[in-house]
């Protein structure tokens, strides 16, 4: 006979879960009692939000689902940001929360919160366990929902008494989805049309999103690009899907996309979108997005098709299956027309490169370039949210799938440090470079203790501009230099803070110190904190204002010092 806690632990072990990230409390203590007796590893985080982000970091870096635990009430509500982040970025996450006794639910008992209700809009599904009999089904189903199709977070809320309730629990009979009516599969019908459109296009472009990473289809994407000669641009989430050093890689598109990539996007005559929801950060004005181009949209989630953009061909299919099919379909010819398209793109790249010459105060981009120069393109790179995130997306060349971790959809400041920690747990032996702003770092820095405790090689690179950089930039451009609540005093002293956590630290305030400081970061074993003092006036450019078109991007074009819309000569 097993009790609920033992059953859950055995289930996780059976699913080869290596570790869970959690924080105890009254209603989940019964579970911890048995967890402590099991071989399942538990990482004690310092805040439940850190636990959820760490589980996501683990999942993003490994491709395996992350698991986090919290007690009822405040423990559970602290998970919400991490769960929402997983939802918007389609990350498989299983959250298990303790709940008050079944009999006490609905009585505003101590530490009672309706967590399944709270997370409904940000989970694929949530369960309140009401009897031990249903536990096998619920666990099985929860696992399938979290990992299947388009992955995402699932929460199981377990009343305290059910952790201890014992019974002969029959194995799951797997009821999931059996009643769902399958939609007609249009692959056979559409494949020849898509292949033909691809071969005919004169200025084709592939846009990859995070779905290609999720599907483990990066190798096939490279193959398709090489066989067809079609250049590839990426969304923020698609950054690790295609190697940055590949000759066909143009980089990121969208609000802060690189100029040549955005110009290729606005001038292409065919766009093959793989595993992307075509968010407003990519399309700008949805209604006017590529009105003349043929758009092919492939996504595993039917609800993404025709949601933001009207596509000419829509196919509900996993990116890997699609790429496999289209490569089988085969015989693409690289014609002369596409050579002209390549030349045009080359010209854009030469005319509008990302700036690499800097003077005056250290610029955030220099720190990123120096890190890349020393660490190479194979490191695991994590960002927090803000200007530094966009600079890393633009400048850091990532050459391996799952090596770029960022909070794309939710844009949750505070994601970086715990996510880097989760990645370090998931990929032992590999260094994790975290780029973080002085604002976002202060949101979850308590996880430094966890990182120190486990001696994780998380290299914290603070791009310290004494300001909420991205807010500063918006107030500069959009609010005509009316700066409100965006200045940060130079607090805390990050070197002293590091000392308090017994973590080595370095500070660099001048260009001369930069490369040595970076060397220190990368040569020191275990965790390091580096405080790079950077220019707060540096802006992320190009900048497409919300609702704008790619060609309206603001930038400093042709050596000019003022900001100007690209399309306005």
């Amino acid at each position: 006979m097993k009790n609920g806690a033992q059953y859950i632990i055995d289930f996780l072990l059976k699913k080869e879960v290596e570790m869970v990230f959690g924080y105890p409390g009254g209603q989940i203590l019964n579970f911890y009692e048995y967890l402590g007796k099991s071989p399942l590893k538990h990482v004690l985080v310092r805040h439940e939000q850190g636990g959820a982000h760490a589980a996501c970091g683990y999942a993003r870096a490994t491709g395996k689902p992350g698991v986090c635990l919290a007690t009822s009430g405040p423990g559970a509500t602290n998970l919400v940001t991490g769960i929402a982040d997983a939802y918007l970025d389609s990350i498989p996450l299983l959250a298990i929360t303790g709940q008050v006794n079944l009999n006490d639910i609905g009585k505003d008992s101590f530490q009672e919160a309706d967590i399944t209700g709270i997370v409904t809009p940000v989970t694929k599904h949530s369960y309140l366990l009401e009897s031990l009999d249903t536990l096998p089904e619920i666990l099985d189903e929860a696992w399938q929902v979290a990992t299947g199709g388009r992955p995402g977070p699932v929460l199981i809320d377990v009343p305290k008494n059910l952790f201890l309730a014992e019974g002969e629990i029959a194995d799951s009979r797997q009821t999931l989805h059996t009643r769902k009516v399958k939609k007609a599969d249009r692959t056979e019908e559409l494949m020849p049309k898509i292949t033909e459109a691809l071969s005919k296009a004169k200025q084709p472009l592939i846009l990859t999103g995070g779905g290609v990473v999720t599907a483990g289809a990066c190798d096939l994407l490279i193959k398709l690009a090489e066989e067809t000669g079609i250049p590839v641009v990426n969304t923020l989430m698609g950054k690790s899907a295609f190697p940055a050093d590949h000759p066909l890689a143009l980089g990121m598109v969208g609000m802060h996309g690189v100029a040549a990539a955005n110009l290729a996007l606005s001038n292409c005559d065919l766009l093959l979108c793989l595993g992307t929801r075509l968010s407003d950060r990519v399309t700008g004005n949805r209604r006017q997005f590529l009105e003349k181009a043929c758009i092919i949209h492939v996504d595993v989630d039917a609800a993404e098709l025709q949601k933001n953009v009207d596509a000419n061909y829509c196919l509900q299919l996993d990116a890997r299956l699609f790429l496999q099919r289209i490569l089988d379909e085969g015989h693409f010819k690289k014609n002369g027309d596409i050579a002209q398209w390549h030349q045009q793109i080359d010209r854009w790249q030469q005319e509008h490169p990302l700036p690499t010459d800097f003077s005056g105060l250290i610029k955030p981009q220099e720190v990123i370039l120096e890190a890349a120069r020393q660490a190479g393109s194979k490191a695991i790179v994590v960002t927090d949210v803000g200007q530094h995130q966009m600079f890393v997306a633009q400048y850091y060349p990532i050459s391996r799938c799952r090596n770029f971790l960022t909070s794309g959809g939710l844009g949750a400041m505070g994601f970086g440090l715990p996510a880097a920690m989760g990645a370090a747990f998931g990929r032992p032996g590999e260094d994790v470079l975290l780029f973080v702003g002085d604002g976002g770092f202060q949101m979850t820095l308590q996880e430094l203790a966890t990182i120190r405790e486990h001696n994780l090689p998380v290299k914290v690179i603070i791009l310290n501009n004494s300001t909420l950089g991205m807010i500063h930039q918006w107030q500069d451009v959009v609010f005509k230099k009316h700066y409100v609540a965006s200045n940060l005093p130079p607090l805390p002293d990050f070197v002293k803070l590091a000392a308090a956590y017994d973590i080595p630290a370095v500070i660099a305030a001048t260009r001369e110190e930069l490369s040595q400081a970076m060397e220190f970061v990368l040569k020191t074993e275990g965790p390091v904190i580096a405080d790079f003092r950077v220019d707060k006036e540096e802006m992320v450019l190009p900048f497409i204002l919300p609702g704008g078109k790619p060609e309206d991007m603001l930038g400093r074009w042709q050596g000019e010092t003022h900001l100007r819309s690209f399309s306005r000569k």
Binding site: H125, R179, A302, Q306, K307
Partner: protein, 163 residues
């Protein structure tokens, strides 16, 4: 334009608020919603009437479809359906007007289900147009109280695939 969705769901707790939430989060006001068990007690059928832009409603339909406990979503707006609502109307009717009120209820094939000294309760069933006609006809006599169910609907003809 007005849409009618027929949604078949697992009979599980929370499913009603989840479905309703998907509409409200996108700014749709649900005009009427009827839920009840079907011939199979493990499933419920919801009939939801909502007004809105076709494109956005298509999106809501797809989002509904993704829910674990939603089995099937049908937009039956353009299908040929039998639809019914039920309405209870307390209409004032004294000696002088009672005859006239009764005549109207006969014309519309309504039933009088309660008689008071100064009022009657009329039960009417039918589609939206009929409901409106009845209410309009009884209005001049003084409607004292009115409750309506939402609309339930079923597609006409043979249907064998799914439910």
């Amino acid at each position: 334009m007005k849409h009618t969705f027929a949604v078949l769901v697992e009979n599980s707790p929370g499913v009603l608020s989840k479905v309703a939430g998907l509409f409200s989060r996108r700014g749709f006001n649900i005009e009427s919603l009827v839920v009840s068990e079907t011939e199979d007690s493990s499933t419920s059928r919801m009939t939801i009437v909502v007004e809105g832009d076709n494109r956005v409603l298509e999106q809501v339909g797809k989002q509904l479809n993704k829910q674990v406990d939603v089995i099937k979503v049908n937009d039956i707006t353009n299908e040929e359906t039998v639809e019914r609502q039920l309405c209870l109307i307390r209409v004032s009717a004294d000696q002088s007007t009672r005859q006239e009120v009764l005549q109207i209820t006969e014309v519309f094939r309504c039933r009088v289900v309660d008689i008071g000294r100064k009022s009657l309760i009329v039960e009417a069933t039918g589609d939206e147009a009929k409901m409106q006609a009845i209410i309009r006809s009884l209005w001049p006599f003084g409607i004292m109280e009115l409750v309506r169910t939402g609309k339930v609907a079923m597609v006409r003809g043979e249907r064998n695939k799914g439910k």
